[in-house]
Symmetry: C2
Subunit: 361 residues, 2 copies
């Protein structure tokens, strides 16, 4: 089969890590008889430099015309880069937010788990992690809430006042809740829905709808947790979580906390899904402008994002399995990029890690 | 001198832990020649049971007529307690939110630090914590933002839709920023202001005002950090933080994460301050209804909250020092409540821990 992939290389280490993911995808293509046709799409800083805005309508159209979107990372150093002298709606991140909304990418899936081989990098003590480690997925709503509410800053009686708004309707909550329970069915069948129902109306509606959706999944156990408590529980006992289901801003905070708790954020992929098969796949980490171009970046998160793309958007499970197995194999052989390096292992650059993984396919 | 203290014992373990703080305060009174007159004030579940609402106007008036307020904890088991069958505005927590607003308690100070004696309880690995451990203060805005914005839930074309709003004006931001820089001046002179300025207008105004305030504190180094990054950095390198300055909801989440990172939340006190000397002092932990009445609660956070009260509201520094030294002394002697118990130490009940600390004064 022939698949059309929109490639957003982006800024910082983005181009390097995407190149390695492409290398691995092409190897999968050869082995399994697929061709991947790539269209370069500009977003973030590279788009600002080329077109004056972080995302053009043409770029959106290119993504929509593809089977899926694979992305590196966008953005630069917020204090030194000229991109951050622009008004907020013209900065790199605004491009990503606009793309999420334009493609209807309401469901963000971020796995956070401990690789056996990388347990040493986990910042949490062994006695808390235990032998079984942890393996959770954060299901974050991605096109609603504070991110996309109306906002304004006005002067009232000589005093500046800023307004943001957080709104959710039943339908927005229901569709993400369904995704959360669906993914739980394929995992350990537990959902913890996170909100701040003791304060927010949107959280109380969230709870109500989640309870309704839960009725359709009698096999899934579920419970509610307040967001402040969840921020504690992730540190105290990460092993208790299977699927965390939450709204946009809480998901932003908690998914970053959860990835840090693995100690190997360079390994963590993410998927942003829509109602159709079109999805956006990107590493959970950022653009690391300080090491861009030095061949030090870890391409594994991006390579695993490509695997998620094969699984969720292109329905190529076997091929996705092959990539995941290849990553495990290189780790087992002791190959490491510098961010996950430890004694007795062999350090590789970004390119060499891509080669090693491709060779395992 | 004679001081009038409003005592909110509250729910769950609240009464037990407040009794021990009173024991210690009275001992301080005898030693330093003060008298503390206590007025019992009802709030939370105990107020619902007695008066039908979580906070009466009379209770607010009693607090306002006092020099300061010392509180235990409020709330019960949210799934089994009848309080949580009431509408949200009548539940225990609504009483606390109303009290914060009524007393103008805009500045919430939550210290999070590692006691040398309790390093073993810290969930983070030793190589991250290092020899110097960590010692930070979260300065959380407490009477603005999402907590006190307008909210509503309405049906639009047959679809339920919930609205919450997040607003801040310059003045609200300025006064909390000043508190943050003031406290930094008495500490290691570093402020990290946390926001989500790449998304929210309120965060962009926050940043602008913090930058203005910072000009008045040339000795204090400061920087900005995004809230998602902060949630990561707290796990990755807690030692980098001195004062974290942030808005209400982010502060709720981050302060709970930070306290969990100490591993000894039963030790952590908090202060909520107003423009006057009137403040509210309470432990950072909750009401632990499951162990209420069993003499197992750790009273230390409440006793240290009483010390903060002496320092910040009553200007009794020497007396506050005495309480803090007494707590350190009992820890050094190996006395522990069950939540912080470790091998080779002597386990005490709540009352006995109160006795031991009072005896050191
Ligand atoms: C870049 C930023 C706007 C974005 C977000 O907050 O969603 C990022 O932190 C993420 O989590 O993908
Ligand atoms: C009880 C609740 C409303 C409160 C809050 O969210 O502020 C609590 O979590 C706290 O941090 O004091």
């Amino acid at each position: 089969m022939n698949y059309k992939i929109a490639l957003i290389k982006g800024d910082g280490i983005g181009p390097e890590i995407v190149d390695e993911a492409v290398k691995v995808l092409d190897r999968v293509g050869v082995k399994y008889g697929h061709t991947f046709d790539y269209t370069r799409v500009l977003m973030g800083g590279e788009s600002i430099d080329a077109c004056g805005v972080p995302l053009t309508d043409e770029a959106i159209a290119q993504c929509k015309a593809s089977d899926s979107v694979l992305m590196g990372s966008i953005g630069g150093n917020t204090t030194t880069s000229p991109w951050y002298k622009l008004e907020p709606s013209l900065r790199p991140e605004a491009g990503l937010l606009k793309l999420r909304k334009s493609l209807g990418l309401f469901a963000n899936i971020r796995p956070a788990y401990l690789y056996d081989e990388l347990k040493a990098a986990c910042p949490i003590k062994d006695e808390i992690i235990g032998d079984q480690g942890f393996d959770m997925v954060i299901m974050r709503e991605l096109t609603g809430g504070l991110y996309f509410g109306e906002r304004k800053t006005v002067e009232e009686n000589g005093v500046l006042k800023a307004y943001d708004s957080l709104t959710y309707d039943e339908n927005e909550i229901r569709r993400i809740a369904i995704k959360g329970f669906e993914i739980a069915m394929k995992r350990r069948k537990n959902v913890i829905s996170v909100d701040k129902a003791n304060v927010l109306d949107s959280s109380r509606l969230w709870r109500k709808v989640v309870e309704e959706v839960a009725k359709d999944y009698p096999e899934v156990t579920y419970s509610h947790m307040l967001v402040d408590n969840c921020a504690m529980q992730l540190v105290k006992n990460p092993g208790q979580f299977d699927v965390i289901l939450t709204e946009n801003m809480f998901g932003d905070i908690l998914s970053d906390e959860a990835s840090e708790i693995t100690g190997s954020i360079g390994m963590l992929s993410s998927a942003s899904l829509s109602e159709t098969s079109l999805g956006l796949y990107e590493p959970s980490h950022g653009s690391a402008p300080d090491i861009a171009g030095t061949n030090q970046a870890n391409p594994i998160a991006t390579i695993l994002s490509a695997a998620m793309m094969l699984r969720y958007s292109l329905n190529l499970d076997k091929e996705a399995d092959a990539i995941e197995a290849a990553v495990k194999a290189v780790l087992k052989k002791g190959f490491r990029t510098v961010d996950i390096m430890s004694e007795g292992c062999t350090q590789l650059g970004c390119k060499e890690m891509g080669d090693a993984i491709a060779a395992e396919i």
